[in-house]
Symmetry: D3
Subunit: 164 residues, 6 copies
């Protein structure tokens, strides 16, 4: 069985890693699908950088691989033969939006979405917060791996330099 | 009795049509109010295009007409003598935001908002998804009328061409 | 057009009255349907008492009448030729449960449910609280009409007497 | 991989069947765990009856079996070697309560809970409604299998007879 | 400043203790108010037992005392001169119900309610679960103090004995 | 005890004022922290203007002062020695997002967040609505002080002039 864990991963956090690791216990293989529209660059990292950072962080998980998805997630799922999409849910607001997306994906392609509880002790970890904390020089080592931390700090320094 | 069904309708979907049709069973007349700020163009279609697409899709509903609203919805309601605003609600998150808007409109003008349940089998249909699906060439015929589909496909082709 | 406003009304509160009054602006006639299972007595007031209290409280609303419903609400709606069920919603939790009930009623009979916002300044008024407050002798005059207040106080005195 | 789908199943509905069937696509085996406290009889059907009704309804799903659980669900999971608990979720209110239960089960035993979306077109189907509809003689054939329908109607007749 | 932390505390859990301890950082004195209707015994422990268990568990918090409240919480607050009621909130469902109660209490007495976040790692701890776990002999030492654990185990043994 | 009430306050509304005033009853001093990133100007008013408008509106509250925060809120809290952050919550959606932020702030700095209920009769008042209403010439005097109203009207006139 093959699961796809989609996200923008700009960048991958320990919250993502927890969901991916638990997913890997239920599936033979897991593809972490980095959704990125190469024609409309956005965020802090390019699609290729996000993939590289995620690969580095996830190298200890043998049956997990990372791929860039520049197109519809359901088309990607069909191409790789995914049995399910797997998402972490942290709150009832999360549930509302994930359910809508899951129903849409099932409607247009038949692919099912399974949901895992986000770990409550990680529920406040989001890529957007990590970046904001880094801009102000705060400690982010609880939220990301050392490799991601270095990349985020470097980007934060560049972004701060623009304003000086 | 006259109801106003407001929205941005960029473009009108089958989810909107379901709510409008059910509204028309409770009111003598229904005005579909296309909210569009002509001074700040945004979205895929101009206000005039949205109105035209909605009119085409809704021509089978005799007591329903479509109008552009470029201003406060409550001012429009007062001008046309609306008895109520009617909105579809799909989830509890929807409810939270629609209630806030409904309370605001009642505060500033006294106009009441009535709510209908969105059809659960259409709850994942949103204009934004329709446009994203079209950009990637996916089938959107379950979500919009053939007329809207043609217009969305044409826009998607133009938008995709920009990047090639 | 005929609307049915269902509830257990044990007893009718000012929160109920607000929803019923606003409903009456959109419908020619409103039936306040007191749901009560005469074979399984429960609550503080019998079905007949609840009807009487509601009638007394609502006598100033000319097109509103009160009836006992001892059976399925949708059967009652069919019998009286109701065009819609109307319910007030106070919170997103309320929405969740009311929507489920509305979908069920539509499934088994086709009857539609319309929703009104509860007035925020009345959102904490519930029959159960009124009864608890009365048991402890607190002032409930903000929550119910004088007629209902008298009946609630009398019941509270009886119930308190049992324990002395 | 072995999944456990727990519930009280008093009785099993088509909503349950949908979740169980979809679960069976992701797991080699599925045990439908009928939670029933034999020391505190409650509900319409005994544990044994619930199991029998569920077995009858699910006989077309080859890798699904039904068992009575009279004790802690996590102890049962440990005994049968379950890899996961699987639950359907219909709304954000559902999510809130299921997540709490899932976190508790993980805390005390390490067993993970996976969640599937309930089918929106079945989201208003609940055992409690089926029983209430049956008491009033309404059609329940959309909600349960013919075998369950017969059993529910028989129970409803008995219960109604008590009051005549 | 004096805060009142109300609850049924049947029995006090580590989740309660966390909220009480954090409350005590913002207030000079904290009264843990054990709400119990002595005329309608319910639950596992009497009001006096709940108070005793809570006192034992909280003896390490110097400015916290425990009292029985057999009446309206707001009357108790007025009598002791409370500046605020303080409650922990674990989820958005919790919020919905606590807010309603808070608005009611403010309406009838003017007393304000402050809310603290429940600790996410304790969000699945509830008195009702502790009791159910104990009935089945599961380990509850993560959820309650040793003193409470002993009392819960003793009650569970008594209750189990009734059925043998 | 010192509380910090953070927000973007673009501009301060009567909803904000209600929360700030009630906060001031529980704390010796309150700092209204206007979060504004001076390197990325956004919104209608500059940070300095927001501070000035808030100071003018809040001058009747003696122990409340207003400061600009251009950096991490938790760093500001540490610098001024805040005992708590205090936020108003209006809905369960609000709760979900505020709780996440509160957990994040506690994780990175230990500072606790307390929550007050927003006044239900003000729950539909938001800075964004005030600005939109002003653009269309609607009456905003119920939502902001006369001083803020003047500033908002002046900005609205400037913004409208750009399009003529």
């Amino acid at each position: 069985m093959l699961a796809v864990c989609p996200g923008s991963f700009d960048p991958l956090t320990r919250g993502h890693m927890d969901v991916i690791e638990r997913t890997s216990k239920f599936f033979d293989d897991v593809i972490v699908a980095v959704a990125y529209n190469t024609r409309k660059p956005s965020g802090w990292f390019t699609g290729a950088e996000r993939v590289e950072l995620a690969r580095d962080a996830l190298q200890g998980m043998p049956h997990v691989r990372v791929e860039l998805v520049d197109g519809l997630l359901v088309d990607f799922c069909a191409r790789v033969g995914a049995d399910a999409i797997v998402k972490g849910v942290r709150s009832s607001a999360d549930w509302d939006s994930e359910q809508t997306m899951g129903l849409l994906n099932r409607h247009i392609s038949g692919v099912e979405t399974l949901f895992l509880m986000g770990d409550p002790s990680l529920s406040h970890i989001a890529s957007s917060y990590v970046k904001e904390l880094a801009l102000f020089g705060a400690d982010i080592s609880d939220f990301v791996t050392p490799g991601v931390e270095r990349a985020v700090r470097a980007q934060a320094a560049k972004r701060n330099a623009r304003f000086m």
